[in-house]
């Protein structure tokens, strides 16, 4: 396949960026999207040009590193996948593909397509944990019974890989799906109840301080989430937050 790539290039956080066009030929439909970018970078290296910086790590859809807004959608047009799982067979010969970084004030561009997602880490630090004594007094995982329904819902929420696609897809750059998944995975379990009030208040406060937008319930985040995190989690966080506000 021969393709035209329109890629966001920005040398560092302080500089202005712009879209630069690249032609790439002989792309195999069996390549992953990241393989295709590797191929482009090899060609740029050979020409003595600066390669395109992009995030990647596991390349098997579990780490959440690879970001990329591809043709106006996070991780491209396919569903329930990350960019490393997107294959070039999704595109046609002669296609023009826009490749941009995830856009949000809370995700500043570091270079080219790499954004700083440490705002997610700060939200996690604010309350995305349970306090368990691990110094020799660890309690057996099965000592506290958890009903299957709650365990399954908590596990579903815990599959969030923190990639930021929800923020990228949202017209408001809202982080509600991410934060609600991190709140829900504990809110549903007995181990998470003890710190439930502080957790939701602190995590939402941090989310707001980072500058993410509000939730308009468009549902774009749920559609674009590579792990299928449900909007139910946002409703649960709304309930948790309102009841925590009344208590606290």
């Amino acid at each position: 396949m021969n393709l035209t790539l329109k890629i966001w290039r920005q040398s560092d956080a302080g500089k202005k960026g712009r879209i630069v066009d690249y032609k790439i030929d002989d792309v195999s439909p069996d390549m992953s999207f990241l393989d295709m970018l590797d191929m482009l970078n090899e060609q740029l290296n050979n020409k003595g040009e600066e390669p395109v910086a992009f995030d990647h790590d596991c390349r098997e859809g579990i780490c959440g590193s690879c970001s990329l807004q591809i043709n106006g959608e996070p991780h491209g047009p396919d569903r329930m996948i990350t960019t490393c799982q997107l294959h070039m067979r999704t595109f046609k010969d002669g296609d023009t593909i826009y490749i941009e970084p995830f856009r949000a004030k809370a995700f500043p561009v570091i270079k080219d397509l790499i954004v700083d997602r440490s705002s997610f880490d700060r939200i996690q630090h604010a309350g995305g944990f349970i306090s368990v004594n691990t110094s020799g007094n660890t309690i057996d995982a099965n000592a506290i019974p958890v009903n299957k329904h709650d365990a399954d819902k908590a596990f579903d929420a815990a599959t969030c890989i923190g990639c930021g696609a929800c923020v990228a897809a949202c017209k408001n750059a809202s982080a509600m799906l991410f934060v609600s998944a991190k709140v829900s995975q504990f809110a549903l379990l007995p181990q998470g109840k003890i710190e439930a009030t502080d957790r939701v208040l602190n995590m939402v406060r941090q989310m707001d301080e980072e500058g993410f937008g509000n939730c308009s319930n468009t549902g774009a985040c749920e559609i674009e989430c590579p792990k299928g995190i449900s909007l139910e989690n946002i409703a649960r966080m709304n309930r948790e937050y309102m009841s925590a506000s009344l208590k606290g």
Partner: protein
Amino acid sequence: MSGFLNSTIARKFAMALSGLFLVIFLAQHFFINITSVFSAETFNEFSHFMGTNGFVQYVAQPILIFGVVFHFVMGFVLEIKNRNARKISYARYNGSANSSWMSRNMIYSGGFILIFLVIHFIDFWVPEINIKFIEGDMSGLDAAGNYRYYDHVVHSFEPIWRTVLYIVGFVFLALHLIHGFQSSFQSMGFNNKYSKALKGFTTAYAIIIPLGFIFIALYHHLN
């Protein structure tokens, strides 16, 4: 309270509550208006009661005005934060791939409804307030000694431009409600096995009530 309303979730909760209040008001408004199609006398009696009853005028009406103003002001406050959350927009953005037009354009449908409401207030509310509270005439009667409410409505929809304007206003209202009504439940934390049925009801409501208002406007224009 102001500190509480700094949080994104609390703001959306308040937005949902005020929206639901306005949805309930809309049903009440519709059921009074539809009587104008069947009986001028019933419509006149309802209108006179609503226009002169102390509870309606001095308790319900101020709450309603507060609800309307709050919903609009908070809508714009939320929009400003949303716009600030993404300083550089995408060169290519495919919103229709993952969300409905209505859900992405609430600020625009809401903005048109605001313009429509201003016109609607000038057409109906301001003249009523003027007669009742400035001129001090609480009788509801015209010079001939008949109730003026029904005639006011019929005369208002004589010009085609006003009828069209109201129809456009109701179309935007429908677009706003199709997303807003069901979305308000999500904002208040309601998302469970009943949500699908609820969405069916809210969508039907969002279409049927504005269609009913359009019918009333057209009926009076054509008659």
